[in-house]
Amino acid sequence: MAIVLPNFSGRRLSAGSALKRQAEPAIGLRFLTLQNALEPSEWLEFEYRLQRVKIEQIDHLELSVLWFTEGKGSEDIGIHLFENVTREQLASSPLDAARRIATILPCGPLSYEGRLFKIRWCVRLRLFMVDGKVISTEQPFYLGHLTLEV
């Protein structure tokens, strides 16, 4: 059996770059369910927190639970849950405190891995900053068990 080691980049971040990256705003997103494969009509619970960012820097935050297609065809997108969280709403509690969201998942479309396209589900957060920057993160999950052994 061959042991394959990951091929790490030879370039190392300079001390300045590393410090700068550590100081950049970040979004923490975590599922509260034990597994990332969920059945239709089940509760999806997750929490998010904003780190290393001040309230004055934030314009608004978009939170969505969505499906999208991947593959040969053009992308289709469908929104199950969409929330536009304003700066005032974010300021109501400390930014680094966990904010919990829960939603009942729909019965379809189920996650699917076909030959021409795939259907993927995810939770996506986009943080819009005052200076025009957008920071986004997403956490995929599997709806149903069509092509996944649970």
Partner: protein
């Protein structure tokens, strides 16, 4: 924002190098400029006519109307593309999708008066499938639309071509009889007659293929189909034929529409096939007579782990019942009847 804004981007797969805002702003600026150009040119053309009607420059005529049409098209293209580009730049894809969904639901609620049916999104409608009750089972399925399109098109072409050929024949004969022989027209009639012969033969072949074997009726015990359930299917084949082979299958297709250069293409692949169990008379051969059509009872058992029907804007999963067979003295045939599979809990 990057330190140096690149004017030229490079396409790397589906990504572009450079800052996307530069591209979006440039595109919006281009269409904004096109809109302004249209406004300015239309204003000049119209005001010139209003204030200097006797002037020979831009006088009302072909050139004037051409300028008006060109200016109007600049205005329409410019404003619509500008608004689209601005909305794409200002709103995220999720926000746009949420807004479109909300607008659709609102429109549906107002138009039909239905309650907000969130669950039925991206599932094909059942209205067209369930409006025809069956004789033996609950629903009679509709034959796939478009299967008779080649026959209709060929009939139209043959009628038009043969009409034209008949007129040309009459003209050629008239010329010959009046002593003013048009040999170019006479020679031209030879290839035209050949085209007419092959087109007519093509039409009759299609006609024989479509109408030789009588119509097929398929009925199903319930709709929509659900994973893990069993369904009865009744097949009635009219006409007179002896089938050496006849098979009913439930087939899944994936369809994807994508842009290739300036073309929009659709690709379709078969991903699953469930062959039915025939419970009717022993066979083959199966015999259909004019007085006594062939009647078959079949059964489909859908597995638990099948993908349901899905209808996106560019991608789709479709389900169809295929009736395939080969009859003696007739070409093999295949008729399809669309059905819909819903995920469990969608009803």
């Amino acid at each position: 924002m990057p330190k140096w804004v690149r004017l030229w981007g490079k396409k790397r797969g589906t990504r572009m190098s450079g800052w996307w805002v530069v591209g979006s702003v440039s595109e919006a600026a281009f269409f904004g400029a096109l809109f302004l150009l249209g406004i300015a040119s239309l204003t000049i053309v119209v005001t010139w006519q209003l204030f200097w009607p006797s002037s020979t420059i831009l006088s009302i005529g072909f050139g004037f109307w051409l300028m008006v049409i060109a200016s109007c098209s600049f205005i329409l293209i410019g404003i619509s593309a500008f608004i689209l580009q601005i909305s794409q730049t200002l709103a995220s894809p999720e926000m746009r999708s949420a807004l479109v969904d909300r607008a659709k639901r609102e429109h549906q609620r107002r138009a039909v008066g239905l309650a907000d049916k969130q669950e039925a999104k991206n599932l094909p409608s059942l209205e067209n499938l369930m409006d025809s009750p069956g004789v033996r089972l609950a629903y009679r399925l509709e034959l796939q639309r478009g299967e008779t399109t080649p026959l209709i098109l060929s009939a139209l072409f043959v009628v038009a071509w043969n009409s034209m050929l008949a007129i040309l024949f009459v003209l050629a004969i008239q010329n010959h009889l009046s002593g003013r022989s048009d040999w170019f027209l006479t020679v031209l009639l030879v290839p035209f007659t050949a085209v007419s012969f092959f087109a007519t033969r093509w039409f009759f072949r299609l006609f024989r293929k479509q109408s030789g074997i009588g119509p097929t009726a398929v009925e199903i015990s319930d709709l929509p189909l659900l994973p893990g359930r069993e369904y009865q299917v009744y097949l009635c084949q009219y006409g007179k034929a002896v089938f050496d082979q006849l098979q009913l299958s439930l087939v899944t297709f994936e369809e994807s529409t994508f842009q290739q250069g300036t073309d929009v293409r659709t690709e379709r692949v078969e991903v699953a096939r469930i062959v039915s169990q025939i419970e009717g008379p022993d066979g083959p051969p199966f015999i259909a007579d004019r007085e006594k059509p062939l009647e078959l009872d079949c059964r489909f058992c859908l597995p638990d782990d099948i993908m349901h029907s899905f209808q996106g804007q560019h991608n789709a999963v479709t389900w169809k019942i295929f009736v395939e067979g080969s009859a003696r003295k007739w070409p093999s045939f295949c008729r399809t009847f669309p059905v819909v599979v819903y995920p469990r809990g969608a009803l």
